[in-house]
Every structure is written in structure tokens, then in C-alpha cells.
């Protein structure tokens, strides 16, 4: 009887606060980008919605299928008063910060992901509301390639976080 009661007690204690589920954080690898291009291209571009007067971010993949290293220097857009290349970084005590970066290397035969929690284009002080479903033109200026114009959709938040990476 004593053994049964002790076993029941042990089982009760284990299950008392629910099962501790050690699930890994749901992250998705970025979609594989076949580098069949022999050009420098911008793919998967999107802008977060935000209100007039506030800031938002533009994300994309810079696919350099050429045999030459290049550098993203600046980005232009009519929808914001100021456009800067930024990166999010981890500071002390688990704090997160953001800073401007002057030029981002896009090495040959590689893809650089501008992604949440990483590199992004900061669209500062929007001239009007930027709403889900809309599309806007942006011009990306590279050191060697010159200018690339693209149209990016405004998309609502991701339902799952994507954690991109720099591939070579």
C-alpha cells in the first residue's frame, strides 16, 4: 500500500504543473534560392505596413550571381523622408539595438538576406500610411551594378518568423 501511494504521489508531482514540453522555437529556414542567375537581382522584397509619420522597414534578398563582389550603397524611396541601410544588433543585458551601416558587401556567387532581426532598409518618417496590399517602388544603388529599381508589396506580419542567413 505504501509503495503504491508513493508511486501515485511521484506521478502526481510530475504531472502537477503540466508536462514540460521542450519544443524548439519555430523558425523557418529561408526559401532556397537557386542561383541560376548570372546577374545581381533583388528577390522576395516586402515592406511592413506602418502609419504616416512613423518608420518602417524594407526586407529582401540580394542575389549576386555574378563573378564580381559588389556593395549596396544606398536605397531611395519616395514614400519616406529619409532612407537608410540599418542593422539590428544584440547589445548588453539582452537588449536589442539598431544602427545605420554604410554599405553592405554583396559577395559574388552569394545571397545576402535583409531580414527581420538583421539587415534592413529603414524607411524613416513615412509621407503617408503604407498599407497591406499596396506596392511601392524602391531604387537600390550598388557600387558596380549601378541602380536597380524594384517594386515591393506591403505585407502584414509573418505568421512565423523567418531567420535568414548569409549564404556563400
Amino acid at each position: 500500500m505504501k509503495r503504491i501511494l508513493i508511486s501515485v504521489l511521484a506521478l502526481f508531482l510530475i504531472t502537477a504543473c503540466g508536462t514540460e514540453k521542450k519544443e524548439e522555437m519555430k523558425t523557418e529556414a529561408p526559401a532556397a534560392i537557386e542561383q541560376t542567375s548570372t546577374n545581381l537581382e533583388i528577390t522576395n522584397g516586402w515592406i511592413r505596413p506602418s502609419a504616416k509619420g512613423t518608420n518602417t522597414a524594407f526586407f529582401f534578398d540580394a542575389v549576386n550571381g555574378t563573378d564580381m563582389d559588389d556593395t549596396l550603397l544606398t536605397v531611395e524611396s519616395d514614400i519616406a523622408e529619409v532612407v537608410q541601410v540599418h542593422e539590428t544588433y544584440q547589445a548588453d543585458k539582452g537588449m536589442m539595438g539598431m544602427r545605420e551601416v554604410k554599405g553592405v558587401a554583396i559577395p559574388k556567387d552569394s545571397t545576402v538576406n535583409f531580414k527581420p532581426r538583421g539587415l534592413h532598409i529603414m524607411l524613416i518618417k513615412l509621407k503617408h500610411d503604407v498599407k497591406t496590399g499596396e506596392e511601392y517602388k524602391l531604387k537600390l544603388n550598388f557600387a558596380k551594378k549601378g541602380s536597380l529599381e524594384i517594386t515591393a508589396p506591403v505585407k502584414d506580419m509573418l505568421t512565423k518568423q523567418t531567420m535568414g542567413e548569409h549564404k556563400h
Partner: protein
């Protein structure tokens, strides 16, 4: 024998729950006068008492981390509804109250089509907010800034990235990394935790 074991089981159950959700921090006896996105007064954390809460700390000029954290709060809210968890309220406190007035917070929520039925965005006097966040070890320090032609300046904060699980007494029982929160973990915790 049975009479002895039952109180022991109750005692150990209490202890094991305390271990899973220990009291990490609290606002003590302090209360802070805040306002929500509709300009309604909210005495914090007094207003939280009686329900479990998830509390996060943001600023609306943040283009990356705070939108991710806000999106995670939304995902949690959607899962709560789906799983019938209705004992939890959500709060987002701005640590940039000079910019984040109630109309700004309201617009922030509207642009993201957020459901505010059990979610409030809070702001207030700068000193009040600073005292509130410092009390529980949340930091928000001005970092880079952009100065415009009209002389106005936007500041970007280096800040704590956190969602806090707060009990019915207003005490913090667990912290999650806001922008990378594991939604399943939070939902499982909320199913277990109703103190």
C-alpha cells in the same frame, strides 16, 4: 498514512508550481498612472489584478524588433482564442511616451488590424514610465537618432526585448524573449498557469 500523504502531495504540488513559475520581480506597492490607446486612465499594475497578463514593452518608431514582438503578441492572442484560454489579458507599454501618445498607439494598432478586445496599449508621463520599467529591470536607452530639416529628431532605442507573464497579484512569473518568443511555450504555460 493516507492522511499524511495528501497534505504532503498538496504541499509539493504548490512547491513544484512555484519552481516552474517563481516570482521573478514585481512593482511592489507602487502604482503608475497610465492611459490606454483610447485615452482612458489605467492604474498599473492595479488594473491587472485578478487576471493573468502578458506585458510587453515597445516604441512605435521601432521598425524591426517591436513589430516582431507585437506580432508574437497577436499570434499568442489568436492561439488563446483558438484554445479557449480566456483568463489572460495583453498589455503593450510604450517606453517612448513623448512620441507614443494615445492616438499614435491607436493608429499603430489599427494599421496592424489588432484585436483590442483584451489588449491595451499604454503610455503616460515619461518619468512614470521610466520608473515603471526600471522597477522590473527593463531598459530603454536612446541610441541612434535622425534629425530632420525642420529640426525634429527621432530617437531609436536600445531596449530590452521581452514579454512578461504576470500573475493575478501583479507579480512577474516568467519572461520570454519578445521578438523570438516560442508561441507554443507561452500557450502551454498559460494553460498551466492561472494564479
Amino acid at each position: 498514512m493516507k492522511k499524511i500523504l495528501i497534505p504532503i502531495a498538496i504541499f509539493f504540488t504548490f512547491i513544484s508550481c512555484q519552481e516552474k513559475f517563481p516570482v521573478l520581480d514585481s512593482w511592489g506597492s507602487a502604482n503608475y498612472n497610465l492611459v490606454n490607446q483610447d485615452g482612458e486612465k489605467v492604474i498599473f499594475p492595479h488594473a491587472l489584478k485578478g487576471k493573468v497578463s502578458l506585458v510587453t514593452y515597445i516604441f512605435t518608431n521601432c521598425p524591426d524588433i517591436c513589430p516582431l514582438t507585437t506580432n508574437n503578441m497577436r499570434l499568442i492572442q489568436e492561439r488563446m482564442k483558438k484554445e479557449g484560454i480566456n483568463h489572460v489579458d495583453l498589455y503593450s507599454i510604450s517606453f517612448d511616451p513623448e512620441v507614443d501618445t494615445p492616438p499614435v498607439l491607436k493608429k499603430f494598432a489599427e494599421m496592424r488590424d489588432l484585436n483590442l478586445s483584451n489588449w491595451q496599449f499604454l503610455t503616460g508621463d515619461k518619468k512614470e514610465i521610466d520608473d515603471l520599467i526600471h522597477q522590473i529591470g527593463v531598459f530603454a536607452v536612446r541610441g541612434d537618432s535622425t534629425v530632420f530639416e525642420d529640426g525634429k529628431t527621432i530617437y531609436y532605442y536600445i531596449h530590452t526585448d521581452r514579454i512578461s507573464l504576470v500573475d493575478k497579484e501583479g507579480k512577474i512569473r516568467k519572461n520570454y524573449p519578445g521578438s523570438t518568443t516560442n508561441i507554443d511555450e507561452v500557450i502551454n504555460d498559460l494553460k498551466d498557469f492561472n494564479e
